[in-house]
Amino acid sequence: MNRNRIMERIFWGTGNLIVIAYAIVPVLWIVSLSLKRSGDLNDRHFFPQTISFEHYQAIFLDVQFPAALWNSLAIAAISTFLAVIVGMFAAYAIVRLTFPGQRLLLACVLATAMFPPIAIIGPLFNLWRATGLFDTWLGLILPYMTFTLPLAIWILAAFFREIPWDLDKAARIDGATPLQSFIWVMVPLAAPAVFTTAILVFIFAWNDFLFAISLTSTNNARTVPAAIAFFTGSSRFELPIGSIAAASVVITLPVMIMVLIFQRRIVAGLTSGAVKG
């Protein structure tokens, strides 16, 4: 019996270690690349022999990366804010109110979640260049908030279903209008859900590459993923590996830390739609 226990512990321990290694090896690799000296980049060792911060210095001294970082942060934050607000209104209406077209709306929202972005990139490019939105923040914010809206509505709706709505009823019996009850009672109750949604939406906007390379062209609005892909190396045929690695670490770590802190909520958010339907 006791021996079985030990075997079991070893079994799951190994399993756990495999899972953790699976997740962490590429991250460690990019971190260690970013810390290698330029001359050591081709030494084919996993870990740096000598640690150096030269690549971090290099990317922050250049104009390209700080501009892209600022663009990424601001665009993702504004998109998140808008998507969550708009999504919250719609989710509340879908869950709490009855109106004609309710199911249709939800179905449409779900359908757009499956939509391939490449299908609208051409028209958007044409519209943006005609309206002057090309290479501006707004030009990226609009598609980001739109493409995350289904996700936001979906997750928020799933969470809203769980909220004790009796409080809402009580508030309304006390004479509050639906709007008042929404703002004063429901919003605070929904805050955790909103926060989860915000993180997921933020990650989407932060991660996007296709819109970023298609609808931007300069430091005006180019975000980090696009900037990394277009980093210009010093010599003609060389990829600036060190700079790419350092920039990758800078944009990966904050999100990763945020995700790890709020992991329980994020897991709930990611799976809510699928499991609860």
Binding site: R9, P26, R44, F115, A245, V267, G277
Partner: protein, 293 residues
């Protein structure tokens, strides 16, 4: 009461209006515009020669070997990565669900690939497989330029895709595992069913809706694969996907007419996949699934 209902309805419309407006403005209108553009010869390099050509663009695409090659590549990548993800996802989900300790740490680790930007993940793997920079060749003690040959390039692309997205699959499946009634498992165990039988006879059927949703999500996602391929090979070595063909035609060639037709065809591909899933395996939503089983 009637007034109240009317008010409620008005509020509902009001609350939904911004979402509906944005969805129509940024998704519905552009896709209709894409359909419209796809009927024209419209190339930004010849701005004056915008001519209605009917379905010519579609004919031109469907008779082009480039398109069929790209579609084939996309299907290989989609089927290859989703099937590995499902298998691996189940293993990871079972570990996360059943493990006796470190449960939090393991679940947290699963979120790391999810939080890593796709471009960054692709770069990390690209450098890892690079014969001069990477550790993989050193590890395997060989000199192979993985991304310069079609077969091995596909392998690296699938690996990158699998690494990045399996955790999503695993988390969904893990959530599904919690739905499996414990009593059922216990009863089966009493009846003498072994672990494998319990898995096939009880766990999988109960989880069918979740599995379907997970696989559908990932299939649609993999079908539009772009970032990974763009970073790893840029379509060289014949690894071009349909999204890359769309991007190249629209934004590199600036051929908006032809490119829009490619976009529409990709959209149709997504529709077909969804329909196949929904008709073939039943509606993939939890509620219906519960009723069905």
């Amino acid at each position: 009461m009637n007034l109240r209902q009317r008010n409620e309805r008005r509020l509902a419309w009001l609350l939904c209006a911004p979402a509906v407006t944005v969805l129509i403005g940024v998704i519905v209108y552009p896709i209709l515009y894409a359909v419209w553009l796809s009927l024209f010869r419209y190339d930004l390099r010849f701005p004056e020669q915008r001519v209605f050509v009917g379905l010519d663009n579609y004919v031109s695409i469907l008779t082009s070997e480039v398109w069929w090659q790209a579609l084939g590549n996309t299907l290989i990548l989609t089927i290859g990565s989703v099937s590995i993800e499902l298998l691996l996802g189940f293993i990871l989900a079972l570990i996360m669900h059943h493990t006796l300790f470190w449960r939090r740490a393991v679940r947290a680790a699963m979120l790391i690939p999810y939080a890593m930007i796709t471009v960054v993940a692709a770069m990390a793997w690209k450098f890892a497989f690079d014969p001069t920079t990477g550790f993989i060749d050193a590890l395997l003690d060989r000199e192979q330029a993985w991304l310069t040959q079609r077969g091995s390039a596909f392998l690296v692309i699938i690996l990158t895709e699998v690494w990045k997205t399996t955790p999503f699959m695993a988390l969904l499946l893990m959530a599904g595992l919690t739905l499996v009634p414990h009593e059922l498992i216990q009863a089966a165990r009493v009846d003498g069913a072994n672990a494998w039988q319990r898995f096939i006879k009880i766990v999988v059927p109960t989880m069918k809706p979740v599995i379907l949703v997970a696989v559908l999500f990932r299939t649609l996602d993999a079908f539009r694969i772009f970032d990974t391929v763009f970073i790893l090979t840029r379509g060289a070595q014949n690894t071009e996907t349909v999204s890359m063909v769309g991007y190249n035609t629209l934004l590199v060639s600036l051929n908006l007419g032809l490119g829009s037709a490619v976009s529409v065809l990709i959209f149709v591909g997504v529709l077909i996949i969804s329909i196949v899933f929904i008709k073939g395996f039943g509606t993939p939503t939890g509620r219906r699934g519960e009723i069905d089983s």
